[in-house]
């Protein structure tokens, strides 16, 4: 087989494979964390499966005990909320009304037992707090597109 012909065929195969991956990959992205709604929707949740859940810390839900360093709060994605328990030191940016990702397992009582809290911030930067909401990145893209 001539060299150039081989390169042509090889190039076509590689391009086809890449485009197959790109087209297929966009449809079903698997994400770093699940939202509270997705978590609730799953029926057969095994209690000891390690999970990440992301959402907004519900305003007024945060109860902290600084003596024992325990935190109780709820995460929401706008439709569903999920209770979370955490023991340890959360990051500075972790407050009510802001985004957070928690790692851990769901306890037998249905409360998410977090071992790590990570604060998530949006890709937006501004000196003004108005209209800036970290929650946006937790709501699926099709919801925000209507704004």
């Amino acid at each position: 087989m001539a060299k150039s012909k081989r390169f042509l065929i090889g190039g076509i195969i590689i391009l086809a494979a890449i485009s197959y991956l790109v087209v297929g990959g966009m449809k079903e992205a698997i994400v770093y964390f699940v939202t509270p709604s997705e978590l609730k929707a799953k029926e057969n949740l095994s209690a000891d499966k390690f999970l990440r859940m992301g959402g907004m810390v519900v305003k007024g839900s945060l109860k902290k005990d600084l003596q024992t360093l325990t935190y109780h709060f709820e995460l929401t994605d706008g439709t569903t909320t999920f209770p979370v328990f955490f023991k340890g030191l959360p990051p500075d940016l972790f407050t009510e009304g802001k985004g957070a990702v928690v790692e851990g397992r769901i306890g037998k009582d249905g409360v998410f037992q977090a071992t790590t809290i990570m604060a998530k911030h949006a890709e937006e930067y501004s000196p003004h707090a108005d209209g800036k909401d970290a929650a946006k990145s937790f709501i699926p893209a099709k919801d925000t597109s209507t704004k």
Binding site: I18, L21, G25, A29, I30, V31, Y32, F33, R52, L89, P90, P91, D92, L93, F94, K98, V101, T116, I117, M118, A119, K120, H121, A122, E123, E124, Y125, S126, P127, H128, A129, K132, A134, S137
Partner: protein, 235 residues
């Protein structure tokens, strides 16, 4: 030859001076003029270092790819020098990105490091191109080292989209890109004053990058010249 080298050296000096100026202005704008972020506070200013350096590193790896491909095709020594130089500086900027990002991540996310997609991808980039540099240094025969490295430079670059895809599916915490988002212009994400600081800083990094690249390229060229001279004297 000395006459030809002079204007090149002069323009390289100008490039360096420009880079220094742009970085100084960028620093001033980023640290003094631009307002602190409402949510993150002063910490957010690390962005002016973090973001330009990763963009520069990406550019550098692209140049490694181009240089490698050209070298295999044409077998010109200069393409190999380009790829080698770009890889070294790319590794430098990637390391800088990770360090700066880590310092940013600790106060904001609460962790120095997490196995998030973009962080992982950046770390893998660092590993791939460190491996590239090791490969070069561990092969004695120069032309063999050059073609082996070129093959790695090409495969490494083609693998990056796949690695990107896989680590992306695996997990992500990092916010979506602020500047390179397909459906959203950067000014909707970033406050104009911050964006200006970012732009100046980025320009400064680019200039610095090309300054370093030209220096490193010159070094490679001189190495070749020394070799040629010693060969001339040899037999």
């Amino acid at each position: 030859m000395a006459q030809a080298a002079k204007p090149i050296r002069k323009s390289r000096g100008v490039l360096g001076a420009l880079a220094l100026t742009a970085i100084a202005i960028g620093l001033y704008w980023g640290l003094v003029i631009a307002p602190p972020d409402a949510y993150q506070g002063e910490v957010q200013r690390i962005m002016y270092l973090h973001l330009p350096s990763i963009l520069t590193a990406y550019l550098s790896y692209f140049l490694v790819f181009v240089g490698s491909g050209m070298y295999l095709w044409k077998r010109e020594k200069r393409d190999d020098i380009l790829a080698h130089s770009a890889a070294e500086i790319g590794v430098l900027f990637t390391a800088l990105t990770i360090i700066a990002g880590s310092i940013w991540g600790r106060p904001t996310w609460g962790v120095w490091w997490t196995w998030d997609a973009r962080l992982t991808l950046t770390a893998i980039l660092l590993l791939i191109y460190t491996g590239y540099l090791m490969l070069r240094s561990l092969i004695e025969d120069e032309s063999r080292a050059a073609s082996a490295a070129a093959v790695l430079g090409i495969i490494g670059f083609l693998d990056i989209p796949l690695i990107h895809m896989s680590v992306y599916w695996w997990r992500t915490l990092h916010q979506p890109p602020s500047i390179l988002q397909p459906n959203k212009p950067p000014w909707e994400n970033v406050h104009p004053s911050m964006l200006t600081a970012l732009a100046i800083s980025f320009a400064g990094f680019l200039l610095l990058y090309f300054y370093l690249l030209s220096l490193r390229y010159r070094l490679g060229e001189m190495r070749e010249k020394i070799k040629a001279r010693r060969l001339e004297r040899g037999v």
